[in-house]
Symmetry: C2
């Protein structure tokens, strides 16, 4: 089966160099005048005059800033500082994010996304969930330790299934209340404790659309940094296309023909009168395109 | 590609019934004399005289217990109470866990595993990671809310890649320092913010064994409730079998022939003089068996 291509937020050129994270001396040795620090405006990217990510030096960072070691790029250590505040609103409401996604080269978008998830996690996890004490970063920003109870905390990545459902040559797509007008996309939902990816896909489709699926297949994955999901793209089929839509989750869901989907994709960012294709940064776009092209 | 079979901790017969979680009235209506509460000894299972999971009623639970709604089983609401303390040591050190895994039917093992992950998360997340205040459970135990800063917290599931690497008809397996003597298993590591499943597989194999892989393929997944991982099983190949072992992570790693692996599997729980096969509850067992049988 052909893999999906052009996954936004993947392909960072930074080598994570985890052997440096766990070695205090090696990490200290990287914190020199050559080190680069990703410039951020809160959690938003800062662009240089060429429209690339702007980097500063450790001299630009406050003395008491919490620094995360992103890894090595062309032999130079790359860091990002934890902002005062983590994400407060949804990313889709923020025009600077969408501008960044338009402007950045794929590798840079991946570097930004990974750094954003990490520093945002720190900003929203300064206290120990086990005992309430103030925690301290460790291992180059890939851990936080509680000095009171000894608990160790790690950056979070939440697995989310996102799935195509096919019946008789048509695809099931739904729209969430927050979507722009006419936009439909693949159904999606968090994997919960105690279920496989395949079980999560089946449960979500049943919950949201009342449809029973079989033959769940993994297609591809994407890191989604708002705040830190691992999108797990799947394909499945159903024998019974009758829909029972969960109106607390979805505004609407319906079956789309290949022709409708092709027309919408061809129409680009404006879509057709009936359908706006998911934007190309979302794995939903790549999944539907994969289905159309396979 | 054939799917892997018999994934331990999957296949719970409980219907999660998320529409009840989000509806306070519906949830309250389920908290009646018919409701069943999973008996736990701390985080360990309690067995009835038939060796099945033992269930009590809401009358067995302390007045101030935090209850998690697991879902519906044969129309009856199932709950589990949050213990005073979450997991303190590694599961593999606990003989009661291994006894449970031997004793329970697959569906019951899945019910126990999902419940264990959920109540353990509550026990270890009573405080708000954003502000340090005491949080309160919400949505039937599928959320905790902070009354001070308004943050919402959700049960955690950590994606972990676990991968076979093939070269010239042999498989790369490694052993962690904590493994029993002679046991080797598939390499594994957490998916980090900012990477796809495929990137995580390639990074882990490079970090732990110095090997560059290509053609990463997803094979199957497993929920692993110690404390709450989503194991994502993959297969990959390499063109260069030279190993550079990260001794901080692994005691050893080496290539195994099909004959060595077949002999070890055939030898069962005692293994051969050279190799103890991963135990059958681990997805590593199913992955290697899938490779031997394909």
């Amino acid at each position: 089966m052909a893999a999906i291509r052009s996954i936004a937020f993947s392909g960072s050129p930074i080598e994570r160099a985890d052997q440096i994270r766990v070695d205090d001396d090696a990490l200290a040795a990287q914190m020199n005048w050559r080190a680069r620090v990703l410039k951020l405006d809160g959690l938003n990217p800062v662009f240089d005059e060429m429209g690339a990510l702007e980097w500063g030096t450790l001299a630009d960072v406050a003395e008491d800033a919490e620094l995360c070691f992103l890894g090595l790029l062309e032999g130079k250590a790359c860091f990002a500082a934890v902002p005062d505040q983590g994400a407060t609103g949804p990313a889709y409401a923020n025009p600077q994010i969408w501008a960044a996604m338009q402007a950045l080269q794929p590798g840079e978008l991946a570097t930004y996304g990974g750094a954003r998830s990490l520093v945002d996690w720190h900003a929203r996890h300064k206290f120990c969930a086990r005992c309430g004490a103030v925690t301290r970063p460790a291992k180059g920003g890939w851990q936080r330790n509680c000095p009171d109870c000894g608990a160790q905390h790690f950056p979070r990545t939440d697995p989310v299934t996102i799935m195509l459902v096919e019946h008789d040559g048509q695809l099931l797509l739904g729209r969430q209340p927050r979507f722009p007008a006419r936009m439909f996309s693949a159904l999606a939902g968090f994997v919960e404790p105690g279920e496989t990816i395949e079980e999560a896909v089946a449960r979500e489709v049943k919950e949201e659309a009342g449809v029973t699926v079989r033959n769940v297949q993994y297609i591809g994955s994407q890191p989604w940094p708002f705040p830190s999901q691992l999108m797990i793209g799947c394909y499945s089929v159903t024998d019974d296309p009758d829909l029972t839509i969960d109106k607390t989750e979805l505004d609407d869901a319906r079956w789309f023909t290949r022709d409708e989907l092709e027309a919408s994709r061809a129409a680009g960012p404006e879509g057709t009168d009936d359908l706006l294709f998911p934007q190309r940064f979302a794995i939903a776009h790549q999944l539907i395109a994969w289905w159309l092209d396979k």
